[in-house]
Symmetry: C2
Subunit: 320 residues, 2 copies
DNA sequence: CTGTTAGCGCCTTCAA
DNA sequence: TTGAAGGCGCTAACAG
């Protein structure tokens, strides 16, 4: 293994200048920097990040915190794409992606605590946000920076990356009204109180108000029986378009709709979870670009320029 | 930050004995060990893993390698559960879970290479297996141990954790024949050549052969149109039970079945991806316990006892 | 069984 | 702009 000493020796400089040169420290002459870097390249030098971690007092890792099991059900494919996006940015910073995951909040906190106290990981990304979350609170107490993917709920000054869910809900509504001339759209939701769902619904409602269309909403929760939903459908014979808050609900509603109705109506759902070819042409999806969200989250975490520091990023969506 | 020196001083021993005591090194008297450990506890000592990593020449991390994009689409919750299981075992070893993920094999390899060369990560878990996989090959060349979740394809001596997919396919078939007295089951597959699918199918076929029932198979790939599948259904009017290779195909087939047929028939699918309450009572799922698989994979990676070293673990499944 | 010592590879004062 | 030296926290010979 070729170390910084080897390079220093070969270049005829001291280890300290070699170190400076390799880290683009300004206190080195342009000449020696180039020479050292080139030599390092030739000799196949690769920095030992464990050593760096020790001297820097910080690990070259970002902790990505998953929600505890119960909550994970919904947004699913989302997570993998998020990871890919985050990682894309991390490799550029020579950092690795470490994950914290557990089935209870206690285990999660324990996991995160070990990461910062033992491994000295000092940057985190939350893949959820919750009121009174003890993990987030603990990190705040330790002055450890983190970014939330999604919307902060009870701490407005947390850094976050999100979609403009209000606008997405509105855009979906407009899309149905404009492209399909829908007169009586329905909003199908989970009614779990998720921030993103509420925002989408508000966007939807705003557009309904503008067009003087009464708001129709159907909830499908884990407790909702098929027959209940079918009744809801039958009680709303005018429905001629659907906006669903997620793909699961969209598919479920789609199935029950076609069980009882013969006509085809347009659907819009979020996240493109469901392969589009599985269903018909009037099934649209709003792509939220999770990979971009992940990338942006990591960028937010690594931004150093005090002056232009951003507190959040909204990732644009796309209907298709 | 309280270090090992502080403890040594306080305990009136040298740093080396303190180190030994804390690491349960046998070359310490029971007495001093207890005293030191107790003192460490009291003083709130927490080991600096970065320092350990440096001296040990190995990071306290396990790299978990995701498949490149295309493959991941479906079985998403599966991966999350796997991660949870892996992590569960890792925390016990004071190790962190680092992930390697990328959209192309090149990026993936680059990612993994950086992990071992720069971060000195020396234990890996593959969340896929592929013929001629260059990442796996590279790790073999470096003599770096890894465990595959799934079945090794072209290197029989790789360590792996899997389900007994053959037996699962057979069990599903028997379940339909026994519990539902099905006479003409159909096996719905993706026909992508996945090892696990072929094994499930072989199990199914074995049982069909034993019962002298002709084998019926329907493929649903990304290119298969709805009408093709519906034709397949209509051409097989005798079908009275379904075994689907995954939940996506199950749901799709279920939908198309009920679009054209009025009778209800039992379904068996794998992985419990789809919330069961979304569909009717005759929709069964084979639980593969991904969390246990992850746990077992990590255990395989950490097993030290040469004598009893296992090369693989098969995780039992359950029909429900 | 215990202590002394010398690093692991790198960074960062401090002087020059 | 450079070099020498000390140290990050811990482990592992080597002596005793």
């Amino acid at each position: 293994m070729v170390t910084i000493r080897d390079i220093a020796k070969e270049a005829g400089v001291s280890v300290s200048t070699a170190s400076r040169a390799l880290n683009d420290n300004p206190h080195v002459s342009q000449a020696t920097r180039q020479r050292v870097q080139q030599l390092a390249e030739q000799m196949g030098y690769v920095p030992n990040l464990n050593a760096k971690n020790l001297t820097n007092g910080e690990a070259n890792a970002v902790g990505v915190i998953f929600p505890t099991s119960d909550r994970v059900a919904q947004a699913n494919p989302f997570y993998i794409d998020l990871l890919r996006g985050i990682n894309l940015e991390l490799v550029a910073h020579h950092a690795v992606l470490s994950i914290a995951i557990g089935s209870t909040p206690e285990m999660l906190l324990q996991n995160v605590r070990a990461m910062v106290q033992q491994s000295h990981i000092k940057k985190f990304i939350f893949l959820y946000s919750d009121v009174n979350d003890e993990v987030a609170q603990w990190l705040r107490d330790q002055d450890i920076p983190f970014v939330i993917v999604g919307h902060p709920i009870d701490h407005g000054d947390d850094l976050f990356v999100d979609n403009d869910n209000f606008e997405a809900g509105a855009a979906a509504a407009r899309y149905l009204l404009t492209h399909y001339h829908v007169k009586h759209p329905v909003f199908v939701e989970s009614n779990q109180g998720w921030e993103y769902e509420m925002n989408r619904r508000e966007g939807f409602e705003r557009v309904m108000a503008a067009y003087h269309i009464p708001v129709r909403i159907i909830s499908i929760t884990a407790e909702t029986s098929n027959t209940e939903t079918i009744h809801a459908i039958e009680n709303n014979p005018a429905i001629d378009g659907v906006i669903a808050t997620d793909d699961d609900r969209a598919m479920e509603f789609y199935r029950l709709w076609h069980l009882t109705q013969t006509e085809t109506i347009p659907f819009i759902s979020f996240n493109q979870t469901v392969a589009k070819q599985l269903v018909d042409n009037e099934f649209h999806s709003i792509n939220l670009f999770p990979e971009r969200m992940g990338e942006a989250a990591a960028q937010l975490l690594f931004q150093s320029d005090e002056s232009t520091r951003a507190r959040h990023r909204l990732i644009p969506f796309e209907i298709n």
